[in-house]
C-alpha cells in the first residue's frame, strides 16, 4: 500500500498517480467534502469485486459513483426532469441522486433493481481524478460496513481487518476532514407524476358519456361525487362500480372519495390510503349493504406490483372501488373491468382559476 500526503504534492500529480492506479484496477482511498471514500473504476468488474470484498458486510448500502458533470452522468443513468433539477440545484455538492441505471457499469454497482446513485463531489481533486481516468469511480465511504464514519485515515485503519487493509493499494491522505454529515440521498426513480396538466390523461370514451364540471370548493366536489353516485345507484346495486380518479397531488381526489362515502352513508372518516394502498369500508344505504374500497396506486409501478394488490377479488355487485392515480394502472385494470363487466366512472381533476375542472366519463346506463 502506498500513502500520498496531499500537502506535499501538487493536485495535478496526485490526480495522475491516482488515475494510473485506478486504471490498473487498484483500490484508492480518497478525501471528499463529506468523508473519505473508497474508489475503484466503476466499469472494471475485477476492481468492483475487490471493492465489495473490502466493504465486507455492505448490508445493502448503495455503491454510488462519482462523475464530473451531468453530461457524464447521462452515460450511466436515465435522468428525468425531477432528477435534472436536483443536479442543477445541488451538484456539485453533498447530495447523491438515484436514477434508473443504463447497465453500463460493472456488475454489483447498480442495485438489483437496476438503480444507481450519482455523486458530483464538491472536491476538485476527485473531479480531476475522474477527468483524468475518463471513467466514473465508486464513491462509497471508506469505512468497513457498520464502522465509524471515516474523517481521517486512522478512523479507517483502526477498524479494518488485516485482510481488508491488504486490499487497499493507494491512500490519498488529506489529514482530518471537517465532520460533515454523509451525502443526502434523493431517489428520483418513482415515476408517478407530481402534477398533471389538463388533457394529459385520456378518458376511456367507449360506452361513456362525457361531461365537464367546475368546482370551486371542497363541498362542491363532494356534491358532484354524490350526484354521480345517485345516477349510478342502480348500476352499483346490480354490477358494482369502479371509479378511477386522476389529478395532481392536492387536487381533490380524496375529497371526492369523502363525497362518495357520504352518499353511501359511511360514518367512518375517510383518510388517504396512500401508504396502506387500500382501505375498506362497509356501507348501508336504503337497506342495501355493500363495501367501499378506497385505493391509492400512486406507488404502484409495475404489473407485478399491481397483481399483488389482488384487485380482481374485490369486484362484485354492491361494491364501489375508488382508485386514485387510476392512470398508473390503467393498462392492467381495463381488461379486468371489461371481463367482469363492471361499469367504470372516470374523473380527471385539473386546475382552473378559481377552483378545479372535473372531466367526467360516465357509464351509459
Amino acid at each position: 500500500m502506498k500513502i500520498i500526503d496531499l500537502a506535499k504534492l501538487s493536485a495535478e500529480i496526485v490526480a495522475q498517480q491516482a488515475a494510473t492506479a485506478l486504471k490498473a484496477g487498484q483500490l484508492v482511498i480518497f478525501p471528499t467534502e463529506t468523508t473519505y471514500g473508497a474508489g475503484v473504476d466503476a466499469t472494471n468488474p475485477e476492481a468492483v469485486k475487490k471493492l465489495l470484498a473490502y466493504k465486507a458486510r455492505r448490508e445493502g448500502k448503495p455503491l454510488s459513483i462519482a462523475v464530473t458533470d451531468i453530461a457524464m452522468a447521462e452515460k450511466y443513468v436515465e435522468i428525468n426532469d425531477s432528477a435534472r433539477r436536483s443536479y442543477q440545484r445541488f451538484l456539485p455538492g453533498p447530495v447523491t441522486v438515484i436514477s434508473r441505471g443504463k447497465g453500463v457499469v460493472a456488475p454489483g454497482v447498480e442495485s438489483e433493481f437496476g438503480t444507481l446513485g450519482i455523486r458530483i463531489p464538491a472536491y476538485p481533486l476527485v473531479l480531476e481524478i475522474v477527468k483524468v481516468l475518463g471513467q466514473p469511480i465508486t464513491s462509497t465511504s471508506a469505512n468497513g460496513s457498520g464502522e465509524k464514519r471515516p474523517y481521517s485515515i486512522s478512523d479507517i485503519f483502526d477498524n479494518l481487518s488485516g485482510k481488508q487493509k491488504s486490499l487497499i493499494d493507494l491512500v490519498l491522505d488529506a489529514g482530518t476532514l471537517p465532520q460533515n454529515p454523509p451525502s443526502t440521498v434523493i431517489d428520483t426513480t418513482l415515476s408517478t407524476p407530481v402534477t398533471l396538466r389538463a388533457g394529459e390523461i385520456k378518458l376511456e370514451t367507449e360506452n361513456a358519456k362525457l361531461i365537464t364540471l367546475t368546482s370551486t370548493s371542497e363541498q362542491e366536489t363532494k356534491d358532484i361525487a354524490k350526484r354521480l353516485l345517485l345516477k349510478n345507484w342502480d348500476n352499483l346495486k346490480n354490477h358494482g362500480l369502479v371509479i378511477g380518479l386522476d389529478g395532481a397531488l392536492g387536487s381533490g381526489k380524496t375529497i371526492f372519495t369523502k363525497g362518495v362515502a357520504e352518499f353511501l352513508q359511511i360514518q367512518d372518516i375517510i383518510t388517504s390510503p396512500t401508504y396502506i394502498y387500500l382501505e375498506e369500508y362497509g356501507f348501508e344505504r336504503h337497506e342495501v349493504t355493500g363495501h367501499l374500497y378506497h385505493l391509492d396506486v400512486w406507488k404502484i409501478e409495475t404489473e407485478a406490483d399491481f397483481h399483488q394488490l389482488e384487485i380482481q377479488t374485490l369486484f362484485g355487485k354492491k361494491t364501489v372501488i375508488v382508485i386514485e392515480w387510476f392512470n398508473q394502472i390503467k393498462p392492467w385494470i381495463i381488461p379486468m373491468i371489461e371481463n367482469s363487466q363492471v361499469p367504470l366512472l372516470q374523473v380527471v381533476f385539473s386546475d382552473k382559476v378559481p377552483g378545479r375542472e372535473l372531466q367526467i366519463a360516465q357509464p351509459k346506463s
Binding site: K61, S86, E110, E112, D187, Y275, Y277, E280, Y281
Partner: protein
C-alpha cells in the same frame, strides 16, 4: 409481563419484519427492506418491491433467529400483526405464523400494529438489565403515533387500555411531508430529506396557515396544508425553477407548519387532560425537529417526552409487536384472521 421468548412477525404493509423478544427487550429486530438480508440494492429500497413478503419472510425469520442466537427449541410464543394493514400483506405474515405455531406447538398471539407503535418507546435493547418499565408505573400516558399512515392521539390509562382522543381526518403527517417533498423534487421517500434540508433552511421564509383551530376537537388535517404548499410551489416555480436556498427554506417552513399543527393540538390536550407522560411512536417519531418542538410544547407542563430509543423502532418493525405481547397477557388465538381495518379503540 412475561419472560417468555417470543418470535414476532409484522407484514402489515411494505416491510417484512421479524424479531425475537423477551418482555420489553428485543434480541433481534430484522426489517427485510433495510439491510440485514445482504441484498445489494441501490440506496433506498424501491417501495413497490417491498410488497414481496412471500420471498422475504423465510430468510427474515432465519436472520432474526440467527441474530438473536436462538433456535426454535427456545421460542415459546409466536406473535403476529393481525391488522391494520394491507390485506394480502397481512395474509403472508399470518399464514406463516399459524404454520410455525402449529409445527412447534406454540401459542399464537394476535397483535394490533398500532399498539406496537404506541408501546414502542418501551422497547429495550438486549443488553438492558431490566425486563421493562414497571407496568404499574404506566398510568395516563398520552401517546402520539405519527407516521406515513397515522397521526393519532391516544390516552393510555394503563397498558392495554386506550382511548382515542383525535387524529387526522385526511392525510397523515408523514404522507404530507413525503408528498410536498415530491413536489420539491426530493424523490421518494422525501420526508427524511425534508428533515435534512430543513436544517439548512430558514423556517420563517414561508408562511403557512394553522389548520383546525376552530374544530373544537383534537383532530388534525394536513390536506389543506398540502394544497397550500402546492399552490405556493407552483407560483414560485412559474417564474423560474426553485433555487437550492428556496428548497431548503421551503423544507424548513413546511415541516414546521406540519409539526406546529400537531403541537397546537397537543397543547390543547395537555391543558384539559390529566396525564403523567407523553410517548411518541411511528416513522415520523425519528424526526429530531418534531421531537424538539414537542418537548418545547411540553416543557411548561413539566411533562417528559418518551421516544423509541432507536430510529429502527420508529418505522414499521416486529420488535414493537413482540414488546406488545411481552408486557401484557394476551389470549392466544390459533384461528386468527387478518383484520385490515383493525382499530386500536
Amino acid at each position: 409481563m412475561s419472560d417468555q421468548l417470543i418470535l414476532a412477525i409484522d407484514t402489515s404493509c411494505d416491510e417484512t419484519s421479524v424479531a425475537v423478544t423477551r418482555g420489553a427487550r428485543f434480541l433481534s429486530n430484522v426489517v427485510a427492506s433495510q439491510t440485514q438480508l445482504h441484498k445489494q440494492y441501490g440506496g433506498v429500497f424501491p417501495t413497490v418491491a417491498k410488497l414481496a413478503h412471500r420471498q422475504n419472510i423465510e430468510p427474515t425469520i432465519e436472520a432474526a433467529l440467527r441474530k438473536a442466537e436462538v433456535t426454535w427449541k427456545k421460542i415459546q410464543v409466536v406473535a403476529v400483526t393481525q391488522g391494520p394493514g394491507l390485506a394480502p400483506a397481512l395474509e403472508v405474515g399470518i399464514t406463516k405464523a399459524k404454520e410455525l405455531a402449529e409445527r412447534y406447538g406454540l401459542p399464537l398471539i394476535p397483535i394490533n400494529h398500532i399498539e406496537g407503535h404506541v408501546l414502542s418507546p418501551l422497547a429495550l435493547p438486549a443488553s438492558s438489565t431490566k425486563l421493562a418499565l414497571e407496568s404499574a408505573a404506566i398510568r395516563n400516558v398520552l401517546s402520539l403515533v405519527i407516521s406515513g399512515k397515522q397521526s393519532e392521539f391516544f390516552l393510555m390509562t394503563e397498558v392495554g387500555h386506550y382511548h382515542h382522543l383525535g387524529g387526522t381526518i385526511d392525510d397523515a403527517a408523514g404522507e404530507a411531508l413525503d408528498k410536498v417533498g415530491r413536489m420539491l423534487d426530493l424523490g421518494y421517500p422525501a420526508g427524511p430529506i425534508i428533515e435534512e434540508f430543513g436544517r439548512l433552511g430558514n423556517d420563517r421564509a414561508f408562511e403557512f396557515p394553522l389548520p383546525m383551530t376552530t374544530s373544537g376537537n383534537y383532530n388534525l388535517s394536513f390536506s389543506g396544508l398540502k394544497t397550500f404548499a402546492r399552490n405556493k410551489i407552483e407560483a414560485l416555480g412559474a417564474e423560474k425553477t426553485l433555487t437550492k436556498t428556496q428548497i431548503y427554506d421551503f423544507s424548513a417552513s413546511f415541516q414546521k407548519a406540519i409539526f406546529r399543527s400537531i403541537c397546537y393540538k397537543l397543547n390543547k390536550i395537555v391543558q384539559k387532560t390529566e396525564i403523567t407522560e407523553v410517548w411518541l411512536g411511528g416513522g415520523v417519531a425519528a424526526n429530531m425537529k418534531l421531537r424538539s418542538m414537542l418537548r418545547i410544547t411540553l416543557k411548561p407542563y413539566g411533562l417528559k417526552l418518551r421516544v423509541p430509543y432507536s430510529k429502527k423502532l420508529c418505522g414499521d418493525n416486529a420488535a414493537m409487536i413482540g414488546v406488545v405481547a411481552g408486557v401484557q397477557t394476551i389470549q392466544p388465538k390459533s384461528d386468527l384472521e387478518r383484520e385490515p381495518r383493525l382499530k386500536l379503540v
